[in-house]
Amino acid sequence: MTLVLDRLSAFPAAAARGEGMVYRTFATLCFALFFLLLPVLSARAMDIQQVTSSKGVTAWLVEDYSVPVVAIRFVFGGGSTQDPPGKEGLANLMTGLFDEGAGTLDSDAFQVRLDDAGAEMGFEESRDGIYGSMRMLGEQRDEAFDLLRLAVNQPRFDQAPIDRIRGQILSGIIAGENDPDTIAQNKWARALYGDHPYSRSDQGTRQSIAAITPDDLKALHKAVFARAGLHVAVVGAIDAETLKKKLDMVFGDLPQDQALAPVPDIEPKLAQHVEVNYDLPQTSLQLAWPGVKRKSADFFPAVLMNEILGGGTFTSRLFQEVREKRGLAYSVNSSLVNHDHADALIVTTGTRSDRAAETLGIVRDVVKQLAEDGPTEAELAATKKYLIGAYAINNLDSSSAIATTLVELQLDDLGIDYMQRRTGYINAVTLDQVKAAARKLLSTEPAILVIGPALAGAGKG
């Protein structure tokens, strides 16, 4: 039974990425950046300690005993972009194997121990990193950290679990082969990114995952799991001295340097029209404009502009024009995507197929108007208030969310006092800067993806 329907569920699987929410729009990870921090939060500022172990492993720690839980999250730079040509899907397969045997424990023994320890462990890869996380009960943290040590340092990559997990992934790949959404997202990635690693599916292909050997997994683990590429955050019932010992235990014996294949920056190819035609009652539309780099001076103006255009509130221009006034869609939103090597602004919506051309026209009109005239002073003021206040709610609402946020702040090199500074960054943005950002990003001809019946003569403009 479908249990619950939300008023708005445009953003499935939301998770925090430092500066904001991560929305999984189809196959693309979109980092919509909400920058944020309650003024009221700085009044009772979150106390983030920088902890460095005797072997030199550093973590950010928020010590908190109100719930008897410890959450740890960490990342090693270098994700699915590190899959060698012909071995696409390697990083994804590897992340499925960390709870499938480590040290002297085989798969079954490891999972029994993990269950006994009352801990939850997860690994996942993005294009640019391999993430690990663990949530444990405070009173059983010694057993949990010991299992994490084994998983990080001595994964076994035994043949039987490799074949089993590979078989599951293969089922997923086959399941998508006739699915218009999956076909379209693969086609879209190739259209935007050409032969750059970002164009590849993180799951790989039937052929590429069949070619992966235990030696490939060991080689990737060795190349990526090194201290130079590591960032760690810990939240919960643990003090700094205890954490130092755990950091040495889990990460202290890893090699110093990573051996990553270089990945070039790429500008997504815009000004193109991609269609995957299928007789669907609802057409999905996705539009891509240029994005802005995290380190760019235009970053906060672009964040404010995106929020006004189609951000996470019910007051955005796209929400008002497409859904509220015309009832053309249930979900419509825009988000800024920041990968290490590419940036974009993405608009997505789904609309009844017989009116898809009309909806596309309205989306483009809204974008055009924002590009030409920019927002109003009142919109900007309201959006600043929203982004300032929303940080804590969107990023700090559980131990795991806080740990996730702190890892992303480290990845983006924003500094341990960033939460105190970001209100100032937002308030400093002027209307002219936002207008300039809108003009610069949105005056470009976008790439357009249509999934549904053929779109008759529409969307030109």
Binding site: L5, L36, V69, Q168, L170, E324, T351, R352
Partner: protein, 461 residues
Amino acid sequence: MKSSTRRLRTGLLAGALVFAVTGPMLAETASKDGKANEFKVTDFLLENGMEVVVIPDHRAPIVTHMVWYKIGSADEPPGKSGIAHFFEHLMFKATSNHAAGEFDRAVSDIGGSNNAFTSYDYTAFHETVAPSALELMMSFEADRMRNLILTDDVIKTERDVILEERRSRIDNSPEAVLDEEVDATLWQNQPYRIPVIGWMQEMEQLNRTDAVAFYDKYYRPNNAVLIVAGDVEPNAVKAMAEKTYGKVARGPDLPPRIRPVEPEQNTRRTVTLSDARVSVPNFSTQWVVPSYHTGKPGEAEALDLLAEILGGGNRSRLYQELVVKQGIASNAGAYFQGTMLDDTNFTVYGAPRGDAKLADVEAAVDAEVVRIARDGVTDNELEKAKDRYVRSMIFARDKQDSMANIYGAELATGGTVQDIEQWPDRVRKVTADEVKAAAAKYLVLARSTTGYLLPQQQAGN
């Protein structure tokens, strides 16, 4: 790893746990200096009959404010399917005191988040904000409980939105279309046979008269539960609630929520959907079973444990036997949705991998169902399952809105705060014999409903 099969499994486990569980046993948790942190949930009644629950969480200056109405899709009049969910959308329109969008803007102006959802048994509206804005949220929410203004224009546009929502959630997806028709087959009389979002042809006819009648009947303080979780004190919440909600007049007493119930079921039914978009088949088999509200003492607790042991995660029988040992399934599991007002469903599911056929997977799942009903569970399996539930409750306390949802769903489906607080003890008391008895009594294949999602047949098409 992000393979969809594993994601599904975890998602279901989390869903089952979060909604069934909560954590009074954590009433006292040791803090760093050895002092106990008290965790005490407060509940009281306003004079107009509105129930109030306050859940403390002082870790961050955030509060989650929810109003749950004891009205869901299963309470809808015949022929008006979808009205409960449609009305949820309409609650965001203008009132006699506030223009359309004013509430949304008030939330976004302070960086808050807001949304709403509808299920079979309840409809809930919620905001997450800084505690200083709590009274403002209450005043908006109390206002729209009685002062909504609905025009035909508003109705028409928003009806288009929910039709689009239906296309997006159901009509575009073969999985969802099948699920909908499996539900309509499993339930022969009970209103859970009707989708929450409604049948398309009935949704298209929903009108202002239907909406106003629905509003006047159900949106009353004596049919509502207020849940406030966060950095607030019960006395302050009470004062604010009296000032806002307390001013809303009590409505006529509503009759008890006695709905049509299932007749005796005597058949095995199958529902099959073949679709060109499907490449990997799957199946699920469902039974009608008691919920926490309809079961005899201990029965729903036993069903929760049965679901966990049979198919709750990667230590479960179905996963270990089919995915790991036999290697014939990409996924397999079981779940039970216990927090329902009427009898509910118990589900097992699976999908093949490699050369295995769907029939092999179904036969192996059935064999495990038969075995657990015949031989019962081991003491070790039972203890581990209980430990996982208890642990999930501790983890739930780490997320404010999880706690609010647990209390809201329980109180909206006939439960009490005490039921939640005593739940862990009741789970601890369940015996292996009781789990076996639940399996033997309810998981009878001769009276079950199975849905098959199949690729399009090559021959004959």
